[in-house]
Symmetry: D2
Subunit: 396 residues, 4 copies
């Protein structure tokens, strides 16, 4: 029997040896508000069962395939059955499974990217619009408290009119070729599984999503130079672009997986006419804030810390100086998604007052569509001799 | 019905508004191996019930008192009943509840300090020696991967013979008086609830435990200067000591809660005749390693990171550059404690080959006793005109 | 009487209130090998005389104009007269004065940029080729020991084949308009005095020069977006470019003077297939070195520090941990320039074996020409709809 | 002929291979206000002459001994002769030479420590009181702008009542024995040349002087543990002390030369009831300021930087972001000493209004006496079984 009050989730993908599945499981568990009740973790029967056992699932809820999972869970009593399907498969399955799950009456929480093409993402959006399902996208970095603080400092006008944004995401783990790596590398650099882009799809979209979230502006045009540095690799492993936004800001986006020795150094800097800010994922609990004409300050995450906006404070679990990190950031997405699911499934009036299909505090399908538009624009721009390439602004 | 394979725990203390109870619940949940099945969270009935409801506990397992909890849980079928009692009450209740729980047949995982006096801690040790219960002490900082790495670098001889150790733990939250603070401050500075020491008991023991763990040596003598800076406060809020160890090292221990503006800046530095290391809790994923005659290096936490020992690697959940923090450190204590409980309750032979009453990878009652001996020595030394004060070395 | 053994220098510009003149005087004095013997510091007679007095110059060697200075110094006995003219005027005078000084038989050390156009710089080069004068250009950042170390790590192959270079130079001091600023700002944003570019000429050239120096490669093409953010300003105050080099590297160059709150944050990162490095001007005594598959290291400046190349060691005056900075970096340029002047004026055979007109260890006219080519390419690219713009590679 | 307006100095010690002599020469030259006119650099005639030649001294002003120097310079015309004698010999000669120089009518600027015993320092003080000579002591760290800023923040009450001070000065260069080192190490660890203490005299005095300067308080009692870690070494190479001041503050002083891998990591932290500050010599251009209840701030050195006091601003030569360092700090001592010498030798009335024998902005003999008292107290305390040892407070 499932625990009272907990939101029941199932998972597709994430068997033994898959990095991101375990991350999702840590994250959903952290607040004790979600229970993983079923899964189709691997096509490999042994792996699937071992994963289910290790997780303490009920015997008959480790399914051999996502199709079987959807079919069986639909038949369970409402108080038992899965409410949300978590999708942590390779990219090319994200949309097919998402659509099937939504059509089967489930909410979906999907690892990014939402899709492998803009067309596919748009199709999913249409499906969502015709359903009452909630859809969450694991843009994990948007779960960090200080990313919300950054967004607040822009939207509240503390920085004045925004002039510049620099975002960079250097990694080094693909500096050598895939043969030296694990399965993480191989599917990510396989066009059939990961879509038309390697690095831009994998991490460029994070950088792009961070820019649009923090600025509350859309990138309207860009000029990109994508490259593939390792012999035999079929997708981009590196790139950069000049960017311009509909709010009059301009800047640079860098994403690379061949920056030898770099770990996961996502960083954003925003400058307005009154001040600037800087946030780095690898030290996520600080924002450097530089108001013009004053000594610079460091805003710090933590319960009850001075200077934090509500959205940032609400995303902290510990007092100042007790570092929170990546798992807590993803757990924040799960927390807000679970809250929305509870309200939706309880047919809560306040929930219906909100935007349908959108869990407050969690990136949704529109973020996914923006990501696809970004990848398309980067690929097209990189191949073009024309300087500026438009990023369609019709979405959102 | 409890989930298969999960270790079942109950909690005393930790109702609404209590910081550390929530931290324990996040930590125990993180790996999905533990289920919180019951609790006596607050003497306040409403608080108690609301806490239980928010946690999704079964109706009848929110008990009005720890006594009721122990009595009722004993009567449940073995497959249902709590295996481990988590104690997160004010300090003066730690030993009475621990002893009662052990005598009722439960394992105990206790927030630190283990006791409010050395005598009390010794009594608990005797109780444990006469039982088959496991006892874990939440010296959270000993759950950090890089603290294990530090210990490894000392024990493996990488630093050579150890000469110096500097540990410091500055906080600033008690810079003003209690009236300006929440209930955290008030019980911690009340001798009746927290024991004979304020700052030394609250954070000095962490600093001390870190020194002895990393060095694998015992502090044999110290010379302390404790102070109380805020008018009306009844316990020390600050202090420092010169220390010497049985391994020939010497150094300084600083712990203060009136370092205005400091968050939770626990830091340790160790220097041997071949090199030195430095670790800071607020950036817990790095160790600065300075081998003599070479550029200094920074060892970084993360799955598969170069240069890490097994104990450090095993305590990482994410790859390089995805920061883990305080909750993950405590979750590591829970992970190893749950593993030991599973083995013990399964009457696992390999478990019995281990030290009884000791969960590998988790501080136990001996750490608690060391902490009490440290507090006693600090208090006595601070009151004395004699320079060096012995810390008894009979334990462990 | 001038001191024996010291190289005698004169200065044009640098009267009271001029920042860079004082910097040059500190730098030339630091090693005690150079004596400032004359100057034409300001067109304002009072300023000129007060500056000369404050510097302890002989009465009759404060000249009313650079023309007067050149004329008078030529007539002095060889053992007395100025050997080197330092030019720290606004940019548009750099070449006219340089040519006149060279034609009058003096060596020249010039604040950057060398010129205000490529044509002008080329004319100066021709003049230099027809003389025996030495010409030094104050690309101060190339005086830092760790910049030479960076160059060494690239040229020695420690990083493997170079893939990526990111250089950035954010400043914030032009975030508000000139009326709020001093004379520094006003002439730098006046096309007549500073040339066709503001930010790119002022600091972009530093970033560009750093890239070409460290990589030992030339930038062959770029794609730029220059902007002017402050109303009424006539020159660019901000920009960025995608860049590609003749060695197969690519990357990004950022230079901006409207990054509110930033001080002088020049930074370069270089990644090859074996490792990466990072250097920042504001903490100039460290290089972060990330070899693939090993913990990262920090190489530190200082006499006798492990891991430094000869060129880096030779540029340190103090042991490890005694920070050196910007003045010491410029003093290094003066030290090497003075050494070359001594050899040249002594008709030293070993000097003649070197490249004529080039002081070893000091940027010369070719660096100046590269800078002009860079500015031209940035301006042209920013105005163009075509993506890639060539930077001519004929020089050097 | 000496330059007009420049203060004429001579130097004892500092021949080829001596570190600190070269540092002094860089520092005195930096501002162009001082001319080195004579010296007795080495007892070795060749070394002495080569040093003089490299410095461009007049032929006959390289003297074979300090006695010869004093005798000869006295006979020169007032406009030519040395005004200040700089002493950079081993410690045991500091006082004999200082007294002789003062008695011969010269001002003295002396490398620290002032003396090798409190008695010797007191004798020098008496000599100074009976003369009109100025005496400056090279406590170089008191030349840093941000040390003055720290002092200002304490004295202005920004931190409130001072509770805690932690000062630490870890170095690692004496981790191995002297045979592996240069002459720097050998005389510093020879009691006959360096006095009764090694580490405390060499660097402990810096830490101590920094505490008293920043706090504007005197240390009244301490409890020390000194050690010698390297076999065969005759003086302490390491130590720490608990300290208390006459202003009610308490804290810890650490100084060690066996902290393997550390460079020159002098650091001070001060906490009052309103906030705290932190300054580190290896990043000397920043002060971290933590006001209670607000995000922490970083004050930055530089001309015109916000938030700096006059004393700090006046000691900066460059704008924000152009790092200044150790040589600039010492140059600040020389700048203020030269200014006082000019006034004194011009019989300036405003100078006489000041404290005789004391150059404003430069540590004098009282600092030297405090240093000796500190060393005596540390040695006595370390040998004693009594906890607290008084530091005499009669001086100053």
């Amino acid at each position: 029997m499932a625990k009272m009050n907990k939101v029941r989730m199932g998972m597709v993908g994430g068997g033994e040896g898959a990095f991101i599945g375990a991350v999702h499981r840590h994250a959903l568990a952290l607040d004790g508000q979600i229970e993983l009740v079923c899964g189709a973790f691997s096509r490999d029967e042994g792996n699937n069962q071992r994963t289910a056992d290790a997780l303490g699932l009920e015997q008959n809820r480790a399914y051999p395939s996502w199709e079987a999972l959807l079919k069986a869970e639909q038949t369970l009593p409402e108080s038992e059955r899965m409410q949300v399907l978590i999708i942590v498969t390779p990219n090319h399955l994200h949309v097919p499974i998402s659509i099937a799950a939504v059509e089967a009456g489930f909410h979906v929480f999907c690892e990014k990217p939402a899709a492998i093409s803009l067309e596919e993402a748009s199709r999913l959006k249409t499906t969502l619009e015709n359903s009452s399902a909630l859809y969450g996208l694991a843009h994990t970095y948007l779960g960090y408290p200080m990313v919300w603080q950054a967004q607040h400092m822009v939207s509240s006008g503390a920085l004045g009119g925004i002039r510049k944004v620099y975002v960079e995401y250097p990694q080094g783990w693909l500096s050598a070729n895939e043969e030296n790596h694990n399965k993480q590398a191989s599917w990510r650099t396989d066009p059939a599984q990961s879509g038309g882009s390697g690095c831009m799809g994998d991490i460029g979209t994070h950088a792009f999503g961070l820019v649009e979230f923090v600025l509350g502006q859309q990138v309207t045009s860009l000029c990109a130079d994508l490259q593939t540095h390792v012999e035999g690799r079929r997708l981009d492993d590196d790139g950069a672009a000049l960017i311009r936004t509909d709010g009059g800001a301009s800047g640079v986006l860098i994403a690379s997986q061949v920056c030898a020795g770099e770990e996961n150094a996502l960083k954003i800097r925003v400058y307005g006419d009154k001040g600037g800010i800087e946030w780095q994922q690898m030290e996520p609990n600080s924002i450097v804030y530089r108001p013009i004409g004053e000594p610079y300050r460091v805003l710090r995450a933590g319960m009850g810390q001075p200077g934090l906006c509500q959205e940032a404070s609400d995303r902290c679990r510990t007092p100042a100086g007790h570092p929170e990190g990546y798992l807590e950031a993803m757990a924040n997405l799960y927390r807000y998604f679970a809250k929305a699911v509870k309200a939706a499934d309880a047919d809560d009036a306040s929930y219906h007052a909100n935007e349908l299909g959108k869990a407050a505090g969690v990136p949704g399908i529109d973020s996914g569509i923006r990501g696809m538009a970004f990848i398309d624009a980067m690929l097209a721009s990189s191949d073009s001799e024309v300087k500026w390439h438009d990023v369609p602004s019709t979405y959102r």
